[in-house]
């Protein structure tokens, strides 16, 4: 789960990592009031996407009037499809130097990795690509935690004139990373100002698997992704017109690949997960069929924990309301029962993933 900049900064505050003074506002009146207390402010759109700055979602302002105007404009914006519902009004702190500090998980090394660069800001990925020697990378032993000497090495690579201050920030940021089950925590830019080092931006991604032991408010947006997640499934919308429902991520990817292989384009990725029951399969069909442009649906279930008869029942439940043609493949646990139930409803079944994929693509072609 991604946190908003303001949420991440609230956590930084708890850990005593320096951040600019700020107010979070969701209307323009608040913006003016907040700006009144500060001289020079930055107004920043709070959205779950990058490139806010380039999209005009960040503005500097002097005084309440200008702040009001900017906040009004930004609160009316939509950035890469995300409507801006909140802005952060922040005291402007002039960066004398912009650095980068990030912690994530190195899957290959199977441990946290801290990265630091004396040159940060929006071009950090280019810097990593073109001048990798500027990035200092330190792996952390998950049981031993960060050693002082590691924090010192990172601090020195950032700014040899502010080592103690930076060691402190690095160690605190590592605590943030661990305590909050982060997949990522990032400060970019970490700025040197005339009053010290400060985190001008903050990014945090929490491991979804750990949300049950972490206390983060979940934001509802009514998206299909969200509905699927709440039903224990995984949905990702795509550009095509063939709806796909599969149990298991690997088999789902194989199914999508196969659809594409036969010339079709998937409208979504939908993993109903191992162990999906009648209700979930029904829900999955509801979600996938409500995707725009969906002209046909492939259902590919390999029963293991999922039972084919349960899946069949879920399909039959929703059949009367469904206006979109289906191609179904059922294999594995209780396959015979499941197939029999569907065939009773006159549904033809494919014998394999490949046959089903081919079938659903042909369905689309014949419809055109």
């Amino acid at each position: 789960m991604k946190l908003y900049e303001y949420e991440a900064k609230e956590i930084f505050l708890k850990y005593d990592i320096p951040i600019p003074k700020s107010s979070l506002v969701s209307d323009i009146y608040g913006a003016g009031e907040a700006a009144q207390k500060m001289k020079d402010v930055v107004i920043k759109a709070q959205v779950h996407t990058g490139g806010r700055g380039k999209a005009g979602g960040i503005a500097r302002a002097s005084g309440p009037l200008e702040a009001n105007n900017s906040a009004r404009r930004i609160l009316g914006m939509s950035i890469k499809g995300f409507p801006v519902k909140k802005v952060l009004i922040e005291e402007y702190r002039e960066p004398l130097k912009e650095m980068y500090l990030g912690i994530t998980i190195d899957r290959k090394a199977k441990c946290p990795v801290i990265m630091a660069s004396p040159q940060g800001g929006i071009d950090i990925e280019d810097i990593a690509k073109n001048s990798p020697e500027k990035i200092t990378t330190v792996h952390i032993h998950p049981l031993a935690g960060i050693h002082e000497y590691q924090a010192r090495m990172l601090a020195k690579s950032l700014d040899r004139n502010n080592i103690p201050e930076l060691i402190d920030i690095i160690k605190k940021l590592y605590r943030v990373f661990i305590d909050n089950d982060c997949q990522l925590v990032e400060i970019n830019p970490l700025a040197q100002t005339k009053d010290g080092i400060i985190a001008l931006d903050a990014k945090m991604v929490i491991d979804d698997n750990a949300l049950s032991r972490q206390d983060f408010p979940e934001e509802e947006n009514g998206s299909l992704e969200e509905i699927a997640r709440k039903n224990g499934m995984s949905y990702v919308g795509l550009d095509g017109d063939i709806g796909c429902i599969v149990n298991g991520a690997g088999l789902a990817m194989a199914t999508l690949d196969m659809v594409k292989y036969y010339g079709g384009t998937p409208a979504n990725f939908m993993d109903v997960r191992a162990g999906a029951n009648e209700e979930q399969v029904k829900k999955a069909l509801e979600i996938v069929s409500s995707g725009k442009n969906v002209k046909s649906i492939i259902i590919n279930i390999f029963g293991g924990l999922t039972k084919c008869d349960e899946a069949a029942r879920g399909i039959i439940d929703i059949l009367p309301e469904l206006k979109i043609p289906l191609v179904i493949r059922l294999s594995g646990t209780n396959e015979t029962e499941g197939r029999a139930m569907l065939e009773k409803h006159g549904i033809r079944l494919a014998a394999s993933t490949e046959e089903a994929a081919k079938g659903v693509v042909e369905l689309g072609n014949s419809n055109q």
């Binding site: 990925e125 998950p142 990014k203 991604v205 690997g250 088999l251 194989a254 690949d257 990725f269 029963g303």
Partner: protein, 290 residues
């Protein structure tokens, strides 16, 4: 014979009294697995499918020898179950549980390295040697004894591949699901090494997917293997993974997409099948012909 398990392997089920644990224990018994008991804290003294339940792994070991443990413990407690198995010297630990926090798994991995235990998973379907033993959740009927080793990161896709092989008359020495989590135990290379040494395995089917670099990491070993490896890598049409901020982009620079993996395999001269039926075709062709 196959790898890692055989019909004598004594298996303990951690989380045996849960819905999943109980159900799968029954399936394993049906398959012929030598289940010696189970563990659920607070349920010691009871029975599940006529197998004794203990409060702890240690108490189980007081009553019976154990070669392997399979874990069906809920995600928030699964890491603790693995620690318990490691501390009690269980040689093979198969963790089925999906959804374990990645920080837990990093800690488990660092701990595992100090032990002599082997962890398979988590979030994996387990391991099956047809005609001998099954530790995990692969459906019983899909397997057929034979000489193809299967190793995969997926769950249901593994069933699909194994089923397709079996239906085409191609039996398996052992099928192994290493699990799809970002941080897990046994790797492709670990399993490939075992297959390479196993006289019953004549060729290997490797099923990979987008994300991470475990497929790429196995290339050097595959090139040295005496046995043919047919690979199948899915996710070509998958949406690009959400990169984890800049840090994710920096650390995983230029690796992880299915296409990149396929290209890397092909460049190394490793056969890449485009579909399950193509796997079958490749297995039936010389020089792999079984």
């Amino acid at each position: 014979m196959g790898i890692l398990i055989n019909k004598d392997t004594r298996v303990l089920v951690q989380g045996i009294t849960g819905h999943e644990g109980s159900l799968q224990t029954e399936q394993m018994i049906d398959f012929g697995t030598n289940i010696v008991g189970g563990v659920t804290p607070g349920k010691g003294g009871s029975e599940v499918h006529k197998k004794p339940v203990f409060d702890s792994v240690k108490e189980a070991l007081g009553e019976t020898d154990v070669d392997a443990s399979v874990i069906f413990v809920p995600p928030q407690f699964a890491a603790d179950g693995i620690f318990e198995a490691i501390d009690n010297g269980i040689e093979l630990i198969v963790c089925i549980t999906e959804g374990i926090p990645v920080h837990d798994m990093m800690r488990v991995w660092a701990y595992l390295k100090t032990s002599s235990s082997r962890l398979l998973g988590p979030n994996c379907p387990g391991i099956t040697t047809p005609g001998a033993s099954k530790i995990g959740i692969m459906p019983n009927p899909i397997h057929r004894p034979g000489n193809i080793g299967v190793v995969s990161r997926s769950g249901t896709l593994t069933y699909e591949i194994v089923d397709t092989l079996s239906k085409n008359g191609i039996g398996q020495s052992t099928s192994v699901g290493i699990g799809g989590d970002p941080v897990n135990g046994t790797s492709f290379v670990d399993v490939l090494e075992l297959f390479e040494e196993d006289p019953e395995t004549h060729a290997v089917v490797l099923v990979g997917e987008i994300g991470g670099t475990v497929e790429e990491d196995s290339i050097e070993f595959i090139k040295q293997m005496s046995k043919p490896v047919i690979s199948y890598i899915v996710g070509v049409s998958a949406p690009p993974g959400k990169t984890m901020g800049h840090a994710g982009a920096i650390i995983s620079m230029g690796v992880g997409t299915a296409l990149e993996k396929i290209q890397a395999f092909e460049k190394a001269g490793i056969t890449v099948a485009k579909s399950p039926s193509e796997i079958v075709r490749h297995v039936k062709l010389p020089p792999y012909k079984v």
